[in-house]
């Protein structure tokens, strides 16, 4: 089990950015099946265009799941205690998402070091698709 060391995680510390994509319809369908969100706007182009969109687009929760994966790779799957996101803009097929993260608060508790981070998934040149914050409790 790779548990990141609490040492070195100070306010302002950044995770190495990571790209996801280019996004494909298969990724959206895979998330539909995994989550049970079967809204056809995410895999039926005719329906999406009929509703005024250029094509299908990713589930916001799919982008949130990618951002969550990025965060736990940084700070540990077992250590996460809170993960919250805001859905901001849509993500379309062929978009490449870049995830970034930064430590915004650190406090020592009797259960370990509580690290709060801010997170973002964005397509280059566009406002964030999903932004969020998370808490991780790292063993001291």
């Amino acid at each position: 089990m790779n548990t990141p060391a609490a040492a070195g995680l100070e306010v302002g510390a950044e995770a190495p950015p990571k790209d996801y994509g280019p996004m494909t319809r298969q990724m959206f369908v895979r998330y539909s099946g995994a989550s049970g969100d079967l809204n056809p706007m995410h895999y039926d182009d005719a329906m999406a265009r009929g509703a005024g969109y250029p094509s299908v687009f990713s589930q916001g929760m799919h982008v949130a799941a990618l951002l969550a994966g990025y965060a736990v790779e940084w700070l540990g799957a077992e250590n996460v205690r809170r993960f919250g996101v805001r859905f901001r803009t849509q993500v379309f097929p062929d978009d490449v998402l870049t995830c970034t993260g930064r430590v915004t608060a650190v406090s020592d508790t009797d259960q370990g070091r509580l690290v709060t981070v801010e997170l973002e998934a964005a397509v280059a040149g566009k406002p964030a698709a999903v932004s969020g914050t998370a808490d991780f409790l790292l063993p001291s």
């Binding site: 089990m1 790779n2 996801y20 990724m27 895979r30 998330y31 099946g33 995994a34 989550s35 049970g36 969100d37 005024g52 969109y53 687009f57 990713s58 589930q59 916001g60 929760m61 799919h62 982008v63 949130a64 799941a65 990618l66 969550a68 994966g69 965060a71 736990v72 790779e73 540990g76 799957a77 077992e78 996460v80 205690r81 809170r82 993960f83 919250g84 996101v85 805001r86 859905f87 901001r88 803009t89 849509q90 993500v91 698709a129 998370a134």
Partner: protein, 144 residues
Amino acid sequence: MSTPVGTVGTEWEVVVERGKIREFAAAMQSDLPAYQGPDAVIPPTFLASAVQWAPEGARIGHGFDRRRLLHGEQEYRLFGPPPRVGQVLRAQDRVEDRYEKPGKRGGTMKFVVIVTEFRDEEGALVAEARATYIETAKPAKEEA
């Protein structure tokens, strides 16, 4: 149908399964060992999939017009280490909050916060999912 604050749904059972975690990890493009094998823990947003265990009518509806519906925010809180394979959780929705704000182009935006509590076999609260839905003042096209 607009459910008032304090309304609770019907409790349902959520079985934390190894194959489902593996499937979800693949969808989130994660190859972390923590999401594989007989002792896998759940990923941060995995409880979104708990809806698949809910019988018809167990969950609480937001009561909003689907043509003007946005999923604004989503949060998961864990009150200890993430639940792991083999656990059987009990889930239940409640309406936590409802409020309104003036729309940017007039009208009224309505918000609802629906919290899903997840309890373990001993009845201890192990996780909460907090969803904020928005009904926009005009038909929504720009947001996810």
